[in-house]
C-alpha cells in the first residue's frame, strides 16, 4: 500500500510542477429534512452530508482544458448512520477544433452524472465514459456506463421487482448491476436519443429485465418568452423469468409550454402533461405482446407527497415562480424565489378504454373496486433562496388531496397527505 501512495503522491507533484496544473478544493455541507403525514403515520427523516472535493485543472490551447475532480462524502441518516461514498471521480477533457473551426470534442470518464434529454428515463451518477462531439448548432453524445459499483443507498437504478426489493435492504451493499448505453444527436430544439440497459445479474431465479428506448425530445423557443418542451419515447424490453421471456412494449410522452420573462420579476411558469403507459391486456397481433408499464432506468421523483412510479400515469403539472426583489442590489434579497405548483394525477386511460378496467398502480390504499382514473391533486408552495453564493436554502410544503369515496380511486380511509421539506446547503 505504501509504495502505491508514494507513487501517486509523486505523480501528483510531477503533474502540478510539470504541467502547471491549477488546484482547488472545498467542502460542501448539505442537510435535508423531510416531514410527512397523512397516509399511514407521521414520518420524519433527515439526511446530513459532508463532502470534500478536490480538483486539478489545466487550460490547453485554443480554449481547451483538462480537468480532474473527485468528491468523497460522509452521509448520515437514521437508517444508515454511516455512508462513506465516492460521489464523483471525473476526468474531463475539452479538445477544441477537433473537426475544424467551431467544433470540439468533450471526453468525460469516471464516476459522473448521466442523463437523457428528458431526465425522466435516466438521471443518475454512474461509472462510465461519455463522448460529446460538439458542432455548430448540434451535438452527438455517446455514452456507456455500469451501475453495479454504486453503493445501494446511492443508486436509483430500479427497474425490476428485485431492484425495488433491494432498495431498502441494508444487507445489499451495491446497487443493481446494469450496463447502460446512450446515444444522442440533435440540438435544444430537436433531438433523437436512444438508450438501453442490460441486467448483468445473470440467472438468479428472479426476473431479469432488459429495456431499450428510442425517442425524440426538445425545447424549441416559440417566442422571446415562450418555449415548447416535448418528448416522445417508445420502449421495448424483455422480461425473463427462468426460461420464459415476455416482451414489453411501452411509451412515455410529454408536452407543455414554458414561460420565462426576466423583466417580469424573473417570472417562470410552466404547464406540462406527461403520460406513461400502464399494462393493457390487449394482445397485439404481432409477436403476441401487450402494452406494459413504462420502466424508466432511474425513476424520477414526481411529487413531494405523492410520487408514484412513472408508469400507468397521466399527470398535469403546472407551476409558477418569481423573484419579487430581482432588481434589488442586494444579492441576498434579490435571489429569494417563492414558488407554487400543482399536479393532477390520473391513471393511464388506455387500459380502461380498451379492456374496461384500469391498470393497477403501485401505491398504497388503492380501491380495488374502483375503475376511476382520477387519483388526486397535489398542491405545493415554497421558497428557494440562494442567500449567499455559498449558502442556499429551500423550504417546500405540499398537500395531496386523494380522490376518495365509494367509487373513487382510493379507499375512503386514506387521509390528506402532507409533506414539508427543508434543504440547506453550504459551500466552504
Amino acid at each position: 500500500m505504501k509504495p502505491i501512495v508514494l507513487v501517486l503522491a509523486g505523480l501528483i507533484l510531477f503533474s502540478v510542477s510539470a504541467f502547471a496544473l491549477q488546484g482547488d478544493f472545498g467542502v460542501n455541507l448539505d442537510s435535508s429534512s423531510f416531514l410527512s403525514s397523512g397516509v399511514v403515520d407521521t414520518n420524519a427523516e433527515s439526511e446530513y452530508k459532508a463532502a470534500v472535493w478536490g480538483e486539478l485543472f489545466q487550460e490547453t490551447d485554443q480554449g481547451g482544458s483538462l480537468d480532474l475532480i473527485a468528491q468523497g462524502s460522509y452521509r448520515y441518516t437514521a437508517d444508515r448512520p454511516y455512508i462513506v461514498d465516492l460521489d464523483l471521480l471525473r476526468f474531463s477533457g475539452l479538445f477544441p477544433s477537433a473537426f475544424g473551426a467551431g467544433t470540439a470534442v468533450e471526453l468525460k470518464a469516471g464516476r459522473l452524472n448521466f442523463n437523457d434529454a428528458t431526465k425522466l428515463i435516466l438521471d443518475q451518477t454512474l461509472d462510465g465514459v461519455q463522448i460529446n462531439l460538439l458542432f455548430s448548432g448540434f451535438q452527438i453524445r455517446l455514452a456507456g456506463a455500469y451501475s453495479g459499483l454504486l453503493l445501494n443507498p446511492s443508486s436509483n437504478v430500479r427497474i425490476s421487482a428485485d431492484d425495488y426489493l433491494e432498495a431498502n435492504d441494508n444487507s445489499v451493499f451495491f446497487g443493481p448491476k446494469r450496463i447502460i448505453t446512450e446515444a444522442f444527436i440533435g440540438s435544444d430544439g430537436f433531438a433523437v436519443q436512444a438508450l438501453a440497459q442490460f441486467d448483468m445479474r445473470g440467472n438468479t431465479g428472479g426476473e431479469i429485465i432488459n429495456t431499450q428506448y428510442l425517442g425524440i425530445a426538445g425545447t424549441p423557443r416559440l417566442s422571446p418568452n415562450f418555449y415548447l418542451p416535448y418528448h416522445l419515447t417508445a420502449s421495448y424490453g424483455q422480461s425473463t423469468v427462468g426460461n420464459k421471456t415476455t416482451n414489453l412494449i411501452s411509451a412515455l410522452a410529454g408536452l407543455g409550454v414554458q414561460f420565462y420573462a426576466e423583466e417580469l420579476a424573473a417570472s417562470r411558469a410552466h404547464v406540462q402533461v406527461t403520460y406513461a403507459t400502464g399494462f393493457t391486456p390487449v394482445v397485439l397481433l404481432l409477436n403476441n405482446i401487450s402494452f406494459d408499464d413504462f420502466r424508466p432506468i432511474s425513476p424520477p421523483t414526481i411529487g413531494l407527497v405523492f410520487s408514484p412510479r412513472l408508469a400507468n400515469l397521466l399527470y398535469l403539472d403546472v407551476g409558477y415562480s418569481f423573484r419579487p426583489f430581482a432588481s434589488n442590489p442586494s444579492s441576498v434579497v434579490s435571489n429569494i424565489e417563492p414558488l407554487v405548483a400543482a399536479r393532477v394525477f390520473f391513471r393511464d386511460p388506455l387500459p380502461r378504454l380498451l379492456s374496461g378496467a384500469p391498470a393497477d398502480i403501485l401505491v398504497n390504499d388503492l380501491n380495488p373496486n374502483s375503475t376511476a382514473l382520477y387519483l388526486g391533486t397535489e398542491v405545493e408552495a415554497g421558497v428557494v433562496a440562494r442567500l449567499f453564493s455559498d449558502l442556499g436554502l429551500s423550504i417546500r410544503g405540499a398537500v395531496f388531496l386523494p380522490s376518495t369515496g365509494s367509487s373513487a380511486a382510493f379507499m375512503s380511509n386514506r387521509g390528506i397527505g402532507y409533506a414539508l421539506k427543508i434543504d440547506v446547503s453550504a459551500a466552504l
Binding site: F57, S65, F388, S389, D390, A427, L428
Partner: protein, 152 residues
C-alpha cells in the same frame, strides 16, 4: 476576440463610465499584449476604474497606491504576474463586492474568485491560481463596470 475588438468593447464600457474615458491607449495596448497581466497594469486598471486614482497615474505607482489603501497585493513587484485570484481579490475590495459568508470570514483571493464566478463576472474556468491574461482581465473589469452601472 481580436485586440481591436476588445479595445472597442472596453472603449464602449469606458464611455458609460466617465472615470475610464481617458484611459491611455498606451496602457490598454500594454494590457492587451500581456499573456499574463503584470501587477502594475492590474493595479492600474483596478485603481482607475474604481476611482481610487486618476488615469494619469503611472502603472508603476499603481501597486503601491492600492496597497496604501489596503487593496493591493503586498510582496508583488510591478512586473510580477497576477493570478485570477489576486485580481479578483483586488476587485472585490476596490468595488466593495460582498455576498459570501466565507469571504466575510476569510477574505482571500480564493473566496473572491468564487464570488465573482457566482456573479458571472468571471466566465469560464475560475481557479484562483490560474494565470490571467490581459484581455481576460479587461473583460472581467468590463462586467464589473456593467454591474455597477446597472445597480445605480
Amino acid at each position: 476576440m481580436t485586440k481591436r475588438a476588445l479595445f472597442l468593447v472596453f472603449a464602449m464600457a469606458a464611455l458609460a463610465v466617465p472615470l475610464l474615458t481617458a484611459q491611455s491607449n498606451e496602457v490598454l495596448d500594454s494590457v492587451l499584449g500581456e499573456a499574463t497581466i503584470s501587477y502594475a497594469n492590474a493595479a492600474y486598471l483596478v485603481g482607475t476604474a474604481s476611482g481610487r486614482f486618476p488615469e494619469t497615474t503611472s502603472p508603476a505607482d499603481a501597486g503601491p497606491l492600492l496597497e496604501q489603501e489596503g487593496l493591493g497585493t503586498p510582496g508583488l513587484r510591478p512586473t510580477d504576474p497576477v493570478t485570477l485570484g489576486d485580481f479578483s481579490y483586488m476587485l472585490t475590495r476596490a468595488f466593495g463586492i460582498h455576498g459570501s459568508i466565507m469571504y466575510w470570514v476569510l477574505p482571500s483571493p480564493r473566496y473572491a474568485t468564487r464570488q465573482l464566478a457566482y456573479l458571472d463576472v468571471i466566465s469560464g474556468p475560475a481557479k484562483p491560481g490560474m494565470p490571467l491574461s490581459g484581455d481576460r482581465a479587461l473583460r472581467i473589469l468590463e462586467r464589473i463596470l456593467h454591474r455597477k452601472e446597472a445597480a445605480q
